[in-house]
């Protein structure tokens, strides 16, 4: 398994270096890390995009993004607002198509298979690629416990040991100790930060390979943000995480890789992608440097 994964990654390296002038291939670094961690073979080979474009109606909002998210890594997508990073994130689990005028081009590969291929069951894709939204959105009609297990109910997955699952999801989301005595209360009774961790726990219950987070801390106070960041670090051991953030410090704190997006008035483009330390210390592109040093944005 690891061998084939490795060679698979190498193939991708070649493709990337030939077709794109990305300074450093992400996946070579990533696969090194992947291999070094035990048990990550279960993660699959991660998520890759090939020339992804996105449109809303006639407006071209995202142009030609080719990016690999290696298994077991945290990738931060940064950039000023309107640069297409959230749109890009939403193409990764096919939430993009909920906007009636939306269109796209390119491929998104999950374990090497295009999730946009005809005949793909989109609900199965979303079970494997979970999502946490900007605003905490627990289901108000359900209790805390029901919220965590709502994914199982929604996708009609039968599980026998739901109590264990409930505990493990809440523990991984860093919420167990706070809510273990009040699982029967409604989700709305929690604070904003707790609600967001509840939403994370909810998406963990269906055991996704990849977790997408769309500015998960933007509606939260610093204390809650810190707790969520801890949770992200914990989760990264067992899954691939892609996080969109406005906050560069947050990107620096939580991510292994960072991709910088920018729009010059036209469609958003990915300017640079590299290990996070490199993006913040020695970016290759002038625009990245200007952004991370706070000259604009």
């Amino acid at each position: 398994m690891t061998d084939s994964q490795n060679s698979n990654n190498n193939e991708k390296d070649e493709k990337m270096t030939t077709s794109h002038a990305t300074p450093a291939s992400l996946s070579s670094v990533a696969s090194a890390r992947t291999l070094s961690q035990p048990g990550t073979a279960l993660l699959g080979t991660g998520l890759e995009t090939r020339g992804v474009h996105a449109w809303f109606g006639k407006k071209h909002v995202l142009s030609d993004v080719t990016l690999d998210f290696a298994a077991g890594t945290v990738t931060a997508l940064i950039g000023p607002s309107g640069c297409g990073k959230s749109t890009f994130l939403r193409t990764l689990n096919r939430m993009h198509e909920f906007i009636p005028t939306a269109a796209m081009a390119g491929e998104v590969l999950l374990d090497g298979k295009d999730i946009y291929a005809p005949g793909t069951d989109v609900t199965k894709i979303r079970l494997r690629v979970g999502m946490v939204f900007q605003k905490p959105n627990p289901f108000p009609s359900m209790t805390i416990g029901q919220n965590v297990l709502s994914g199982l109910k929604l996708a009609q997955i039968k599980k026998s040991d739901t109590d264990d699952l409930l505990e493990s999801c809440l523990t991984r989301a860093g919420l167990w100790s706070e809510v273990k005595d009040r699982l029967g209360e409604h989700g709305g009774a929690l604070s904003g930060g707790q609600q967001q961790r509840l939403c994370i726990a909810r998406s963990l219950a269906v055991e996704p390979q990849v977790l997408l987070m769309d500015e998960p801390c933007s509606a939260l106070d610093p204390g809650s943000t810190f707790r969520i960041e801890e949770t992200i670090a914990e989760l990264a051991k067992t899954m691939t995480i892609v996080i969109v953030t406005h906050n560069m410090q947050q990107a620096a704190r939580v991510s292994d890789y960072t991709a910088f997006f920018l729009s010059d008035g036209g469609p958003g483009e990915m300017i640079e992608a590299a290990p996070t330390s490199r993006i913040f210390s020695s970016p290759q592109d002038k625009r990245t440097e200007d952004y991370v040093t706070g000259r604009f944005g």
Binding site: W55, D64, E97, A103, M104, A105, G106
Partner: protein, 348 residues
Amino acid sequence: MNKVIPAPSKPWQPTLVDKFEDLLIIVGSLGAAGAIVKLTGLNGKLGFFFAFFFTLLVANFAFHFAKRGLQAAKDSLLQVFTAMAIVVTLIPIISIVATVVSKGYKGLHWGLLTKDMALASVNDPIAAGGLLHALVGTIIMVGGALIISFPIGVLTALYLTEINGKLARPIKFLVQAMSGVPSIVAGLFILSSLVYPVTKALSGLMGSLALTILMIPTIARTSEEMLRLIPNELREAGVALGGTQWRTVAGVVLPAAKSGLVTAIILGIARIIGETAPLLLVTGGGDALNTNPTSGAMGSLPYYIWKAFLTGGTPEAFARAWGGMLVLLSFIFILFGLARYLSGRKVG
């Protein structure tokens, strides 16, 4: 650098193959339903419909179960159920329009607009009578109702949107409650408050007043919706320029809502133009042309139709009734089309 931008696509939309498969399922179910009707005791349109519905459910479920599993199959059932509900909703409206047009056109002739029914009996040829009296009566009564209910409706709407005082919530409720007043109660109210104690006679004006009660809530609610569409910045701009609230409303808000208020009028007319029950009680419903709303029985379109159906019994009377119904339905279509056209345009 010359980048090639690929064509936008929507890979989530059903492909041609998917559409073809769906069509195949529908056609197959139609065929199977036909076969079931032939082979078993089921008969009639209802039998066919149920057979079709049932086979469509089974076929859809089986197809999606085989293709994508149980969840997708259950999901497809909901789609069949909702689509069938829409079909069931649409069947009556199509049937109604088709019936009125196919039966009503026989009753149409140019004399409709020039003659009344004063001298025509139920056995006379269709061309002998007309609905001049009914048209004139309806126009007078609806016009009268409009003159009273438009100011009241708009003032109510203004209270809810511009003043929005403590009573806004109860008044909103009362307007809602008023729209639920059964039309026959409106008729009884006019009888008990005006006809018996004051005028002691039925007339067109009484009809107008009864219709007013039914019209006010429609105008008030539509106007309120339309006034709410006016952006608050416009009001603030008016006040910031030193205008009083009154000047802002009269000079900025109402002109901006003009087409919305016209829509309210049109929907109000559409609400009452076919209203029958109160007119049966309070107008007297004459057969001769009467242009004086304050005295004498006054005919109206709904009364004309009602009378032709219930007291006629001859082919001519039925043709007249359906003809009148076609005229009434045409009015509603025109009013509704106008309202759609106006509200489709940008407010302001």
